[in-house]
Symmetry: C2
């Protein structure tokens, strides 16, 4: 099975991260392959991911949490759909976090998140996450600065607890350029079948692109930990983004060295009566 | 309103705590008063507590979490019933944590706790808590030592997050002697109306009294923080225990300097039409 140096996109814990260090349109890991080869590789990766999830589910030992963040049109929905669609729906759960409700805001910011973390044998994907409670809060100035600043520690320690209790955490930022977003937004506007995905409010976030990049840069650098590292994936090219995420998932799940559980009874002694 | 030096029972954050430093049968704070005076004082404290909770509920600003731990017969149920029974049930919620279910054990240990933390304006009491996942796990050797050792940090950071997000946390250990427990267990055995409260398994915990005291001592010392301090309350005398807890609650709620919310509209401009 193919495996590439996906750690190229790992944000090293404890290091200062610079967003500009990742080229949104690069295709280094697979640039030597033809388009047909990309597709064959992607196909193999998805098969292996499907297999690994089966073992994860059967073994009921590990919990896997994937956090996906991106700017609007960054490819969160598309990536989830493409990379994870072969997986048995019984073992995977995608949770999308929207604007918090009044009830959610009346609690600490992790209160609405915690119930959705994976149980043994489960793979959970967060489409947006508790990181919005730092990012959006910071850029849109929803609360005083000390609130989001304290939350760096809160998320790091929350994730440490999850990890030490048995959860494998993979955090992915799908990184697109401002130009690429423009193309995608225009495509949405031009295609009536995609109008439902367009929200005029997204343009407000776009107008603060620099603020968001700065907030992401700071956030990713400060919350990439051994327990829960960030991967910043070039996402201007959808095929490359999907290959990277599939590859990352396969590498992470392989590293758990999972196996189907051995029966606790001796199959030789079991007889099915007439 | 009466207020005594309840900080006598505060476990100073960062200090080494010795269980033997608290005499389970002492009555220092109110020993100069007669029994009638105790009752009058207790009555006033409960009235004030009732009032403070009204403001808490009306203001919808603060969240209050009370964690109560004790050995069996230590008085958790009795204390909750006595001290908090005058409070409007709409604004108070008591959550008892039992032996974790299979579903709960398939998640991190804080997963079952987090949904029950208070929202704005709410007072929540935990009758037993996430601390059992350290104590019972340690004394009964339910998981390897590294599991409960890591959990010290997990609870401290969880509580820090809750506190920084707006929750006032008060942790109470009702401290009784082994002799006092014997009396109470015997009383339960002798009274058929109390048989439902007796569980033969409690005798197993009693047989490990020394181990539990050692585990509590270590736990309380290491998890008493500025954000979420422990109070070790002498609890052999029920009247004294109740006075102390009522007094502690009143002091903590007073210190929030709460007030009824001011209307955001001008009452003078409102006219109720015919």
């Amino acid at each position: 099975m193919p495996s590439k140096g996906i750690d190229r996109y790992l944000v090293k814990p404890g290091s200062k991260f610079e967003m500009a260090s990742v080229d949104t349109s690069e295709k280094t890991l697979w640039e030597d392959l033809t388009k047909d080869d990309h597709e064959a590789t992607y196909d193999m990766l998805r098969d292996e991911l499907q297999h690994l999830q089966k073992v994860l589910y059967a073994q009921q030992k590990h919990r896997v949490l994937v956090v996906i963040q991106a700017m609007d049109t960054g490819g969160k929905d598309g990536c989830i759909k493409h990379v994870f669609s072969r997986i048995d729906p019984q073992g995977i759960n995608v949770h999308s976090f929207k604007k918090p409700s009044e009830e959610e805001l009346a609690h600490d910011f992790l209160w609405r998140v915690h119930p959705h973390v994976p149980r043994n044998g489960q793979l959970v994907i967060f489409n947006r996450s508790h990181y919005e409670d730092i990012l959006a809060v910071r850029v849109k100035k929803l609360f005083p600065d000390e609130v989001w600043k304290r939350r760096y520690r809160h998320v790091v320690e929350f994730e440490r607890m999850l990890a030490e209790e048995g959860t494998t955490i993979i955090k992915i930022f799908l990184h697109i350029s401002k130009d690429e977003q423009k193309k995608r937004l225009e495509a949405r506007l031009e295609n009536p079948a995609k109008h439902w995905k367009f929200n005029p409010d997204d343009l407000q976030d776009r107008a603060r692109w620099g603020d968001f990049m700065h907030a992401y840069e700071d956030l990713i650098g400060k919350t990439s930990t051994e327990c829960a590292p960030w991967y910043v994936i070039p996402a201007d090219r959808k095929w490359y983004r999907n290959l990277c995420v599939a590859n990352l998932m396969v590498e992470k799940l392989r590293s758990l060295k999972m196996e189907f559980p051995h029966p606790t009874w001796d199959p030789a002694t079991v007889r099915v009566e007439d």
